[in-house]
């Protein structure tokens, strides 16, 4: 069975302040996304087995909180890359794409990183007000991105 063509994958720790932005984004998008065309997944962090989740997709949107990016968010097309995250328990999306390429001997689907600006990452903190404003802006952008992706593959919005 083929998976839904679009994948939205967010990660972060829901109990570490604005690090919850990734899972929160996925939770809210899942509520109104068509599961037949968009699969919404989340996890604590990216790891090698998530390379298998990229299989059969036409486009992938990775979503993470960012300490360094511009507010409210930055959207960046990604290319597979070998980086230091290969050597840790948490991989970058670029490294994950590289693993996909090596495992499947084919290029990964087009992937975009949506980095939502966060400020506070303390254990036990709730997401901050500014981060939640950024989250709303990122969700609005993502809904347009999903609609564009659907048009691109010939479907209706």
């Amino acid at each position: 069975m083929r998976p839904p063509p679009l994948l939205v994958f967010g990660w972060g720790n829901a109990s570490r302040g604005d690090d919850a932005l990734g899972p929160l984004f996925v939770e809210r998008l899942r509520a109104d996304a068509d599961p037949a065309r968009v699969e919404c997944l989340d996890d604590y962090q990216l790891q090698v087995e998530h390379a298998l989740d990229l299989r059969g997709r036409t486009r992938v949107l990775f979503v993470d909180a960012s300490r360094a990016g511009a507010a409210p968010f930055e959207a960046t097309p990604l290319q597979p890359a070998r980086d230091a995250s290969f050597t840790t328990h948490a991989m970058s999306p670029q490294a994950l794409m590289q693993v996909y390429r090596e495992l499947h001997a084919e290029p990964p689907p087009p992937c975009t990183l949506l980095a939502i600006r966060g400020e506070r990452f303390g254990l036990g903190e709730a997401p901050g007000a500014a981060a939640l404003v950024n989250l709303d802006a990122a969700l609005a952008w993502a809904r347009r991105w999903l609609a564009d992706a659907e048009v691109e593959r010939g479907g209706s919005v």
Partner: protein
């Protein structure tokens, strides 16, 4: 009296090398090495540089929330915390044994977690070093290098891990923040369709797990002198075992052996861990140093995890893994195997065992139906001990009449191995660094020794984060003599201008 190479006699006159952080481990760790003018090692320490209070995060919460909340402590072993907390809360509620269905579903979840964690560690974090050599090109020593040179190994690693994650999903309810285990039992049986899906893959996983044991045995056989000697030292061993002495990763009694394999204690209740284990604080690290009370701090430290478990038990209760255990034990020629790199071998024996157990549990009808929870007479205090992937994990709680947690104490696996990891680093420093110039390859030897323990410094230190690899040489007068940073691409760059800020 202290430990050899823990504290130099005259540290003010020594150069310092800092490896910061140790890569391919979780959380913040750094190693500092003090060298004299002729590059002789005088002091070696594995430091923990950050601390956050998990216990405070838990205290004040309702007890029924705790098995879910503790999963947020660590992104690496959330299921271990989920189950250890559940077991402790069983005791709080006065439940000494959950129903057969709950016991088997929890076991299935736990063995899935151990299996996927071990698979990640061996195939993706350690196999690059083991397959290509500790001094090999840095750009090759990663999973992409493995995938290029050994595509089957990389793919098996990914699929074994994926299988373990699916076992967790069908038992915990979700990929993340599972709620499957609750105080007193579990909240749902395994769905028949999920069981069938997993069972159809189990035999393939078993074959790959056997391949993994064969691979690691071949590595030992190809270079026995190096594998036996690298970072090797003698130590006590601690783990849970089943009441009859068999390996049990989910539940049992505490057993400890000395370095020669003689029993130090056996059959000890996990509820009395405080009578057996004492934690020592040392001023130079945030990670505590546990030891056996009966032997004291200098003789009582011990190792936990696969190396301890495979040798602490009398038998592994699954035939394929038991045959491998016997080969492993024979390698020691009558004494426990103390080689640091033997952790990998023991870890793969455990992968084989976990897959055998998972297969058998998937065939057990109890996981599909039966009583899910049970009740007891509330005690207000409980300890939950489990053999997590990295070793013995202890959760201890007190709960007030208002249902809120009033006390929480966690001793995580990596903390048990703190002294052992320091000993491993010192052993490697003696073997490979003494009198030599510092190179990336030599520094990697240090990291290889630490990685053998698969430390989760996130758990041990309550810290999560990333820092660049940073190596500093400081002269006797405090002057920065050299500074090497490992960039994200793996290139080494010298930078004398960046601030140090590292305490030795």
């Amino acid at each position: 009296m202290g430990f050899d190479l823990e504290t130099a006699a005259a540290p003010e006159g020594l150069r310092r090398v800092a490896i910061d952080p140790v890569s391919r481990v979780e959380g913040h760790g750094k190693v500092t090495i003090l060298l004299d003018e002729t590059n002789r090692v005088q002091q070696v320490r594995l430091h923990i540089v950050e601390f956050r209070g998990f216990e405070k995060f838990i205290e004040g919460r309702p007890y029924w929330e705790v098995p879910v909340m503790v999963q947020r402590l660590c992104g690496i072993c959330p299921v271990s915390h989920h189950l250890a907390a559940s077991k402790a809360m069983d005791r709080v509620l006065g439940i000494d044994a959950v129903t057969p269905t709950a016991d088997k579903i929890r076991r299935l979840m736990h063995y899935g977690q151990v299996m996927q964690s071990h698979a990640l560690h061996f195939f993706h974090l350690s196999s690059p070093d083991l397959l290509f050599g500790f001094d090999s090109d840095l750009n090759r020593r990663n999973i992409v290098g493995v995938a290029r040179a050994h595509p089957d190994i990389a793919k098996k690693g990914v699929l074994l891990r994926k299988f373990g994650q699916e076992v967790i999903r069908v038992t915990a309810g979700k990929r993340v923040h599972g709620t499957g285990s609750v105080p007193g039992g579990v909240n749902k049986p395994v769905a028949r369709a999920d069981r069938d899906l997993l069972r159809a893959q189990a035999d393939q996983m078993l074959e790959w797990a056997q391949d993994a044991v064969t691979l690691v045995k071949q590595l030992h056989a190809q270079n026995p002198a190096m594998y036996d000697r690298f970072g090797s030292f003698r130590s006590n061993l601690l783990s849970l075992v089943r009441t009859d002495g068999a390996m049990d990763l989910y539940d049992g009694v505490l057993r400890a052996r000395d370095a020669s394999g003689a029993l130090l204690f056996d059959g000890a209740s996990d509820q009395s861990y405080l009578d057996l284990i004492e934690e020592e604080v040392r001023p130079w690290s945030y990670m505590k140093f546990p030891h056996l009370r009966s032997l004291g701090r200098e003789a009582g430290w011990y190792r936990v995890g696969p190396l301890a478990r495979v040798q602490n038990c009398d038998v592994i209760p699954s035939p394929l893994a038991e045959a491998q255990r016997r080969e492993f034990v024979a390698w020691g020629r009558g004494e426990p195997v103390h080689a640091t790199l033997a952790y990998h071998w023991a870890r793969m024996i455990e992968v084989l065992h976990t897959v055998e157990v998972i297969r058998d549990l998937l065939d057990d009808p109890d996981i599909l139906a039966g009583e899910l929870t049970t009740t007891g007479t509330r005690r207000g205090e409980g300890v939950g001990v489990i053999e997590a992937p990295r070793g013995t994990l202890i959760h201890h709680y007190r709960v007030g009449d208002d249902d809120l947690v009033t006390m929480c104490n966690l001793i995580v696996s990596t903390t048990h191995n703190n002294q052992a990891m320091n000993e491993a680093v010192r052993a490697v420093a003696r073997q490979y660094l003494d009198g030599h110039e510092i190179t990336e390859g030599l520094l990697n030897h240090i990291e290889v020794a630490i990685r053998a323990y698969d430390p989760c410094l996130s758990c041990a230190t309550h810290a999560i984060g990333q820092m660049p690899l940073d190596v500093a040489l400081v002269g006797a007068d405090g002057t920065l003599l050299d500074r090497v940073c490992k960039s994200s691409s793996g290139e080494l760059q010298r930078d004398l201008l960046a601030p140090l800020g590292l305490g030795a």
